[in-house]
């Protein structure tokens, strides 16, 4: 294992975060906090409780998940896209590093950033709404697992994209709508039966449901199913990355 290479890539990526602290950390924390102010404190106080949980507290897991998905994808896709765009990726490709080491460096750094952001938003949310975490270890597990999975997904997008526009298409046109429609702001039991069935095809439902369960012990779908679906997504991403490096897709041809 080329530990020095993993450390070099990881430090390089994290240095970018610290260099752009306002954009990387402060901006997403601020924008998510605004959701808590508007939907939690202002509008939330006039809304009925969902599944016995105050509306302000109900949306906390969904909003953290929304941030986690978008930031994981953004960090990881940008991390690999920029060296491709600037041409500096030649150095990683010519270095004695394996796929695993490259992933540990790039995806590890993206995951770290996302988890830090998730925990910061969690702490910020506590300033606006009152909530308890019923299963803290499960919460942490879902947080990390989701951050890893979507960082991998972002890494794939960063390799697939050959323009800044393409880099934004999947997060903005697919992930964001799926997250909004995946139960961030409502329980899927509030939907008509047909829409409940359709919603079950949205993979983000399982992430938010499992994450919310770790907070309040209530979920739209079984927590075991949520966990399994997250693992399946992780494995699909891993297989895709392995195929990319094996064939050299968009990297070596």
């Amino acid at each position: 294992m080329n530990i020095h290479a993993i450390r070099a890539i990881y430090r390089f990526e994290m240095a970018r975060t610290w260099r752009t602290l306002l954009q990387s950390i402060a901006s997403p924390v601020l924008s998510t906090s605004l959701y808590f102010v508007v939907f939690g404190s202002a509008i939330g106080s006039r809304m009925v409780a969902v599944d016995g949980i105050s509306y302000g507290a109900f949306i906390v897991p969904g909003l953290i998940m929304l941030l986690l998905l978008t930031e994981s994808i953004s960090n990881a896709s940008f991390g690999i896209f920029m060296p491709r765009y600037s041409g500096t990726l030649y150095e990683v490709l010519s270095a004695p590093v394996s796929v695993v080491e490259v992933l540990l460096g790039y995806v590890g750094a993206a995951t770290t950033k996302s988890v830090i952001l998730g925990l910061l938003v969690l702490a910020t949310a506590r300033l606006f709404v009152s909530f308890e975490i019923a299963h803290p270890l499960s919460m942490l597990m879902f947080l990390v697992l989701t951050a890893v999975s979507f960082s991998l997904f972002g890494f794939i997008i960063g390799i697939w994209a050959d323009s800044f526009e393409k880099l934004q298409i999947i997060p903005m046109m697919v992930v964001m709508p799926l997250t909004f429609l995946g139960g961030t702001f409502y329980s899927i039991s509030m939907l008509p039966p047909l829409w409940q069935t359709i919603t079950l095809f949205n993979p983000v439902v399982y992430l938010i449901s499992g994450f919310r369960w770790s907070f309040y012990g209530v979920a739209d779908v079984s927590v075991a199913v949520s966990f399994a679906m997250t693992l399946v997504f992780l494995l699909v991403c891993l297989a895709t990355v392995w195929w990319i490096f094996k064939t050299g897709y968009k990297l070596k041809n």
């Binding site: 020095h4 070099a8 030649y90 150095e91 010519s94 270095a95 004695p96």
Partner: protein
């Protein structure tokens, strides 16, 4: 002695169907400076990129110090340093951090003393805390070299190392390359500047249309394919070359004032003494004479031209 780089029957066809390399066989000896010459699109960069791991190889096999570049890629790549043709750099990084990053990437523990030496050797020490985006083009080129040297490679690939740099820096780089060679590093360079190859290389390889058409010691190549010429400026213009001088294969310029004699330096007798004697016998006086030899550039141009004439231009579409 085992060559440091050994390429056997290497092919490369890109996904587009373009055949970039065809049946390349080439050995690079330890400690030499090998110049790979070829026109644009000849396959130089593809060949280097395959050896370094940037492009997937097609058929064939490449060994670096006995290590297969695919099955034993870690050992092979750790021996290689690459200075790419383009000025690829992370603009926001400082010189020190980007060079240190390269060392770590190649699996070596931090060694500030070595990084300092590399930066000092390349006159970059004063710029170590400067962001790369603030450097001049020549300085950025030096940073790329520093990155390639940060992990102490045994084989250094220089892809057009002096493209776009001023004459002074080019001369400095030549000195640096020679010093590296003297320290035991094998240098493989591609260049458009034939003068550069002529100045530095021990051996020359010429690649055209994805095929190696010649590999030769530089001095032997220039002896074998180079022509020497003697030009005699006559006192009185000639209308015709006397029949008795036909065996010399002389040429007369358009206004008859200059005689041109091509001779072979490899022959024991160049025939110059005979020619001058016979000219004297025929009362042909000359006021000046000049001797010249063809440059590597002329040899290269002739080689590529004759290779292109031999091949069907459509042959390379796979």
């Amino acid at each position: 002695m085992q060559p440091i780089v050994s390429i056997n029957n290497l092919d490369k066809v890109y996904d587009s169907g373009f055949c970039a390399l065809s049946n390349i066989n080439l050995d690079i000896q330890r400690g030499e400076i090998f110049a790979l010459l070829g026109p644009n699109g000849a396959g130089k960069t593809t060949l280097i990129s395959i050896i370094c791991g940037i492009v997937n190889p097609g058929q064939g096999r490449v060994l670096v110090d006995g290590h297969d570049i695919v099955s034993d890629f870690r050992a092979a790549r750790s021996l290689i340093g690459l200075v790419p043709q383009e000025l690829f750099n992370e603009g926001f990084e400082t010189v020190w951090s980007t060079v240190s990053f390269s060392r770590g990437l190649f699996g070596l523990a931090a060694n500030p003393a070595h990084i300092e030496k590399v930066l000092r050797d390349l006159s970059l020490w004063d710029k170590r805390n400067t962001r790369i985006m603030e450097l001049s083009g020549g300085m950025k080129r030096r940073v790329l070299i520093a990155k390639a040297l940060s992990h102490e490679p045994r084989v250094l690939f220089l892809d057009e190392p002096t493209a776009g740099v001023d004459v002074e820096l080019r001369r400095e780089m030549w000195v640096m390359v020679r010093n590296l060679r003297d320290s035991g590093v094998t240098i493989i360079l591609t260049t458009h500047y034939i003068e550069e190859a002529e100045e530095m290389a021990d051996r020359i390889g010429v690649i055209n249309r994805g095929e190696i058409i010649l590999v030769e010691e530089k001095t032997a190549l220039m002896k074998k394919l180079g022509k020497r010429q003697l030009r005699l400026q006559l006192q009185q213009p000639l209308a015709l070359i006397p029949v008795e001088l036909a065996s010399f294969g002389l040429e007369l310029d358009a206004d008859g004032s200059e005689l041109i004699y091509n001779f072979d330096t490899q022959k024991e007798h160049t025939g110059i003494a005979d020619l001058l004697r016979k000219l004297d016998n025929h009362g042909i006086d000359f006021k000046d004479l000049q001797s010249s030899e063809s440059s590597l550039e002329e040899i290269f141009v002739n080689l590529v031209k004759s290779n292109q004439e031999q091949n069907n231009p459509d042959r390379r579409k796979g």
